[in-house]
Every structure is written in structure tokens, then in C-alpha cells.
């Protein structure tokens, strides 16, 4: 038996999903005004906006589950680095457009399969959020899969940059499928998703798109992990410093 209560597990579970959406969304938003061309600038920012909307729904629900009166803003802007539970992949700097494309593609495929499974959650709120989110995930996936093909099967330089990006991102991949106590409690309760199932589908989808893109998915030589325990790469601190600056200077400030 686990010492975790169902409520604690649900809070952490929801918070993790929210953190992933917020941090990835923030990284994408850094492209605003810097996209390779206008349409894609808009495309990236639209995706970032979806992620922001997603994290707001999840943070609000996490705050409700926790029951300590914290709202979405408290959870997003008044927690320290060690309290953030996002995967390490999400917090990595945006890099060049190839890196952003690969990171986003990996996250899209994960999100697509994860939220498809989460639609069947016994937790009504999570299932409702998932059914909303999964429509957007399908769209993001199709959009980025096209970019992966275009850049992978593009020029010599774009192909090379995609390979570099894949090599760089690969070490953060396995973390996305680790199951811990929180996952187990949630899966046992019929609320959470078995990440082993997500992993199988993730590999199949990535390999399928990579085949068209003349790219290969390497087995990582070593894995990085720890995001969910609050053990982050140095990148997250810089990101939070910028993102949380206004709320830290003027707590509770509203537009």
C-alpha cells in the first residue's frame, strides 16, 4: 500500500501536466517575432497559446484539488525551481528551429497519445480537459510532423541540423515514460495513464514520421532524469527568473 492519499496523488499528477504545458508553452513563446517566416511565427505562437490555455485549466484544477486556496497564478508564478515538476526536455532552450521542431514533435506525439488515453479517466475533470486538449494535440502533431518531414528530407543542411537536434534531444526522452508512485496510484484508481502504453505508441508514431523524413531515432546513450522530483537542468532557473519576474516584484498584481 502506498502512503500517498488519492488526493495528494491527484494534485501532483495534475500539477505535473500543468508544469509541462506551461514550460513548453513559454519556450515556444520565445519565438514570437523571431519565427523563420511570418506564417510559422504565427503557427508557433498559436501552439504556445493552446499550451498556455491548457496549463491554466490544469493549474486551476490542481489548486482546487489541493484545497489550500492556491489559484492558477499562485501555482505558475509563486513556486520555485525545485517545486516545478516538468520533464527536462520541456525546459531546454529553444535552440535553432530544428531543435524546436524536434522537441515539439516529441512532445506532440507524447501529448497526443497521453491525452487520448486520459479521455477515459475516471476523474471527470481530467477527462473533460483531455477531450478538449486532444483535438488540439492532433492538430499540433500534424503540423509538426510536416515540418519534421520537410526539414529531415530537405537540404543537406536542414537534414544535418535535424540529426544534431535529435542527438541533443534524445537523452531527455526516456524520462517521459518513467512511472513512479504517483503514476501507479493514479493508474490503480483508473484516473491516470499507463506510460508504458504511451511509450509503445510514441515509438511507433515517431518511427513512422522519421521514415518519411529520412531520419533515424537513436537509442540514447545515457538518460537524464529528475524533472519530476524538482531536479532540473540549469536552464529552468533562468526561464523562471524571466517568466515570474513581474509577479515576484509585485505579488498579486493584476492587469
Amino acid at each position: 500500500m502506498s502512503d500517498l492519499t488519492q488526493q495528494e496523488a491527484l494534485f501532483t499528477y495534475t500539477l505535473r501536466l500543468a508544469d509541462n504545458a506551461l514550460i513548453l508553452g513559454h519556450r515556444l513563446s520565445e519565438w514570437c517575432g523571431h519565427g523563420p517566416f511570418l506564417e510559422e511565427d504565427i503557427g508557433v505562437i498559436n501552439t504556445a497559446l493552446d499550451l498556455l490555455g491548457r496549463c491554466r485549466m490544469l493549474y486551476s484544477y490542481a489548486g482546487e484539488v489541493e484545497g489550500k486556496g492556491r489559484d492558477e497564478d499562485d501555482l505558475a508564478f509563486h513556486r520555485d525551481e525545485r517545486e516545478f515538476t516538468n520533464y527536462l526536455l520541456m525546459e531546454q532552450p529553444k535552440g535553432d528551429f530544428a531543435y524546436t521542431t524536434i522537441r515539439q514533435f516529441y512532445a506532440d506525439v507524447w501529448n497526443l497519445h497521453f491525452y487520448t488515453e486520459l479521455c477515459n479517466s475516471k476523474d471527470e475533470t481530467l477527462a473533460a480537459i483531455a477531450r478538449k486538449v486532444v483535438k488540439e494535440c492532433r492538430y499540433h502533431f500534424r503540423h509538426n510532423a510536416e515540418w519534421v518531414k520537410r526539414l529531415g528530407d530537405g537540404t543537406e543542411e536542414s537534414h544535418q541540423r535535424m540529426n544534431d537536434a535529435i542527438a541533443e534531444a534524445s537523452r531527455f526522452v526516456n524520462e517521459m515514460f518513467e512511472m513512479d508512485e504517483v503514476d501507479q496510484v493514479m493508474v490503480d484508481a483508473g484516473v491516470g495513464v499507463d506510460l508504458n502504453v504511451v511509450k509503445e505508441k510514441w515509438i511507433a508514431s515517431v518511427d513512422q514520421v522519421f521514415a518519411d523524413a529520412t531520419l533515424q531515432r537513436p537509442e540514447p546513450e545515457y538518460d537524464r532524469s529528475g524533472g519530476r522530483k524538482g531536479l532540473h537542468t540549469e536552464q529552468l532557473g533562468f526561464l523562471l527568473a524571466e517568466m515570474q519576474y513581474v509577479q515576484r516584484c509585485h505579488p498579486g498584481l493584476q492587469w
Partner: protein
């Protein structure tokens, strides 16, 4: 379009002398629902001002719960920035009627779908220069991710191409007509 995104809100909300008297609960509940619906039909999408929140499918329910008039809205996209705008406009609109207690709920399930757009609403979109979604989300083409059937809202040609999967707002994609060269927005089918 003589549309001013903030003008109506400021003039209605900040000049208190313009505000109508607040009715008692009994008086407010005596207002016909059709009159309330009529008033709410002035709440329009800030980016697509030819469609009301009701026609867009964002406004789901209006009902009395005890002494409170509860309206329920659902977002088109998770991050749709118009949601705050809809909520403000609904409040202002109901305050104008003198309704004393107003609540705006957000509901996520069932998730919004472009299938909720009526034929009438689609025609309004087309007249406004936006190509409406022509399939339903349950059609095989959409499920398999094939290119949607889109026709130019100006010349109705189907010789069109997708310029970008993302347009000026989350709910639209960018297209161009190869017959008349008109660039236009396509309201995505989700």
C-alpha cells in the same frame, strides 16, 4: 467594420450614470427568457463580429439558479483569448437589463466542436470573407487528416491552397485562392 474592441466595454462599464437601475430578483425573473436571449445576441466574437456567442456555440446555457442568472460558456480553443471578452460582454449585457445577480460559468465538456456552427452561421462567415468548415468532425476525411474541402469565400472556386495551418486566431488557417488570388481565412474543422 466600425467595430471597436474596447469602446463599448469602457463606455458601458465606467460611466456609472449610464447604468440602468438594478431590478429586484422578482422583477428580473419576470423578464421573458426570449428578451434575455435577444439581449445576449449582441455579444459577438471580438475577432469575428458577424457571429454571436450563441451562433458560435460558445454560449451554451442561460438559466435561473435561485436568485442568480447563470450563463454557461465553453472555450473554442483552450487558450482562446476571447473568453475573457465574452464573459465581460455577457455581464455588461445582463447588467444593462438590470439583472442583480449574474454568474458566468465555464464548462469544458462536451468539448466545443465546429460541428455546432449552423448553416446560417456558416453563410455569415462566408459573407464576412471566412471560409467555413464544410465537413463534420466525424467525416472520414477529417478523421484521417486529409486536406479539407475548402472553397474561396469570394469567387467560390475550389482551386485553393493552404498557405499556413495557423491563421490570425487559433480557430483559423490561412488559405489563398488560385483562381482570384484572394488570400482568406479558413475556419478550422475540429
Amino acid at each position: 467594420m466600425d467595430y471597436n474592441p474596447v469602446g463599448s466595454f469602457i463606455s458601458d462599464n465606467l460611466i456609472s450614470s449610464d447604468r440602468p437601475p438594478v431590478l429586484s430578483v422578482a422583477e428580473a425573473q419576470a423578464i421573458e427568457m426570449s428578451d434575455i436571449e435577444h439581449a445576449l445576441s449582441t455579444v459577438v466574437d471580438p475577432e469575428i463580429p458577424v457571429l454571436s456567442a450563441r451562433e458560435l456555440g460558445v454560449l451554451r446555457d442561460v438559466e435561473w439558479q435561485g436568485d442568480t442568472l447563470v450563463t454557461t460558456i465553453t472555450p473554442t480553443y483552450s487558450g482562446c483569448p476571447a473568453m475573457g471578452h465574452f464573459e465581460d460582454d455577457i455581464r455588461v449585457c445582463l447588467e444593462k437589463l438590470g439583472i442583480p445577480k449574474i454568474k458566468v460559468n465555464t464548462r469544458l465538456s462536451p468539448a466545443w466542436t465546429s460541428d455546432w456552427l449552423s448553416d446560417d452561421a456558416k453563410q455569415k462567415l462566408r459573407d464576412y470573407g471566412i471560409a467555413p468548415p464544410m465537413e463534420t468532425t466525424s467525416s472520414l476525411k477529417v478523421l484521417l487528416g486529409h486536406a479539407p474541402e475548402v472553397s474561396c469565400p469570394k469567387c467560390h472556386s475550389t482551386e485553393v491552397r493552404e498557405v499556413s495551418r495557423h491563421g490570425s486566431t487559433a480557430c483559423k488557417a490561412l488559405y489563398q485562392c488560385d483562381s482570384c488570388q484572394e488570400p482568406f481565412d479558413y475556419f478550422k474543422c475540429i
